[in-house]
């Protein structure tokens, strides 16, 4: 009897594994074809000098990687990504949190604010890029018009290397702040109403409630929002590609725009692959390190 039971359990276990394998086959094929294989292929292509179309492919070993390490444009692009990352976190998250707090305190009657604040998030990055390119145009744009009311001349924010990156960041913040607003609103609804009531009965003002009670409860959400924002900023592409194409000069160049232009505009696909590989390594490192740091704090 006993022996039979064990084999029955074994049969069941084997059956479970079989069904699991069946259900996991489609995703395995999909990820193998569109993610795993391309990553390997990118590293292989990065060892060639190749324009992507012709059959003439020259193996140059780590030549592209040597060039990449010494390529100041790539490191400027990486620095710009980091600038965007830091500014995004410092601008979007506090404003998003402030908007969410305002809506949480104000209740239902402020729904109209929520609806309008949300709209930028509905628009595609490409459309936003075009909209702001025209809105910031030197002649007849929004900023120039406002400046001329006050007697100022035309202002070319995107054409000036000193202001271009900052302008792009402001547009990104305009687009993504509503995301953090909605995100923090969800976090607020996770705080039980009793907590708020108890604090009010004990005589806490709204400000005290926010800083002493709500904020500490929101810290985990703020942390995961920061991770999202960091990884997102390092991958950034659409908006910048549309608005400036990385220019003027290299002032708004990002890793992704640099990779794209090298691969598909100047058809230097071997080197483009090396940039993509470098980007992949840097992003993996940054996300691993931040997750380690944030998790360690949680345990402490």
């Amino acid at each position: 009897m006993g022996g039979k039971e064990i084999s029955l359990g074994e049969i069941r276990q084997r059956n479970t594994r079989k069904v699991a394998a069946l259900f996991l086959t489609p995703i395995a094929i999909l990820l193998a074809v569109y993610i795993v294989y391309p990553i390997i292929d990118t590293f292989i292509t990065s060892t060639y000098q190749w324009n992507g179309i012709s059959a003439a492919k020259k193996f140059i070993g780590i030549g592209n990687w040597k060039t990449l390490l010494a390529d100041s444009n790539f490191w400027i692009a990486f620095r710009n990504n980091v600038v965007i990352m830091v500014l995004s976190i410092c601008i979007q998250m506090p404003i998003g949190l402030a908007l969410a707090t305002f809506l949480d305190f104000g209740g239902k009657k402020l729904t109209i604010f929520k609806v309008i604040w949300f709209i930028p998030l509905l628009m595609s990055s490409v459309a936003i890029g075009f909209l702001f390119t025209y809105a910031l145009a030197t002649n007849g744009g929004l900023v120039s018009t406002v400046s001329s009311w006050f007697g100022g001349g035309n202002i070319d924010l995107l054409g000036n290397p000193k202001t271009a990156l900052l302008t792009v960041v402001v547009v990104m913040c305009w687009q993504f702040t509503p995301f953090y607003m909605v995100y923090f609103m969800a976090a607020f609804t996770n705080i039980p109403y009793d907590v708020f009531e108890a604090a009010r009965i004990d005589g806490a003002t709204r400000g005290q409630y926010f800083w002493k009670i709500a904020f500490p409860l929101l810290v985990p959400s703020i942390k995961s929002a920061a991770i999202l924002s960091m990884v997102g900023s390092l991958k950034y592409f659409d908006l910048v590609y549309v608005m400036t194409g990385g220019g003027p000069g290299t002032s708004t160049e990002l890793m992704a725009t640099y990779m794209y232009k090298q691969s598909f505009s100047t058809f230097n696909m071997g080197y483009g692959s090396a940039i993509a590989g470098g980007m992949f390594i840097l992003i993996s490192m940054v996300s691993l390190i931040t997750m380690k740091i944030l998790n360690r704090n949680e345990e402490a």
Binding site: N15, T16, R17, V19, A20, L22, F23, L24, P26, I27, L30, L31, V33, Y34, Y37, P38, I39, D41, T42, T45, A98, F102, L110, F113, V115, I116, I119, P120, L122, M123, S124, S125, V126, A127, L131, Y134, A135, G140, L142, T145, W174, P178, F179, V182, T205, R206, G207, P220, L228, F237, A256, M259, Y260, G272, A276, G277, M279, F280, I283, S284
Partner: protein, 282 residues
Amino acid sequence: MENYRRNKRKSRIYWVIASLLAVLYLIISVMPFVFMVLNSFKEKFEMLTKGVFNLPDSLNFANYTEVLTGGFGRYFFNSVVVLGISLVLLLFISACASYPLARFKFKMAGPIYAGIVACMSIPIHITLIPVFKMSRATGLYDSIWALIGPYIAFAVPISVFILTSFMKEIPREIEESAEIDGCGKIQMFFSIILPLAKPGLATLAIYNGVNMWNEFSFAYTLTQSSENRTLPLAIWEFQGQYSMNTPMIMSVLTLTLLPMIIMFIIFQDKLVKGMTAGAVKG
């Protein structure tokens, strides 16, 4: 009491300041849209001669009719086809994958799940050149069919992440009683788990739907001729044609935003929740 009153007055002042800032942010949010819609009704030179903030001379729909007859429908149709097929396949594949990961006990479940979720942080740019090569080799290049594979592949990790945690919430008793009735594991998926996972699938549809509808990088790289491009690229194409005609571009932008606004009005809170679904604490 004195103290209480002072606190109350102070808090009211803060609230007024907060409200003023809120209105300021409202203006910041809405100003670009006002600029867009207002100017989309103007004639080509009206904007330059009269300034950007003036109301248009008349409600001039000429730009809109020109855009709508100039191939806009084609981009819209392409986007709908790509979105429809990708979403159906995506939901099916992620439901299939989430089912064993959420409901079965087997050794590899943990590592497989971790592997799929790790794909979430992979930048699409590392796959751009190989996918471009593949689509040329298979003859899919420059057709909307080239987009479906990458769209699903990059949406699948986060979908499995969300759906697995959703399926874990389904109480075990339902499954057990079905098992006693002789329901096999495959039948269980189709007749019990899948119907119960519908709310989770709806969230995924919204979240991924918005992303796919607005996707740019793959669409820009894998298609070339304008009759095979999707809506985000319509702006690009029209800009090539009418680069100096700002009002025309503004009407294109308004038209691309319109479907999303309509969806937003219909689904409101569902859409808001769905769009932040990817941000559930990890």
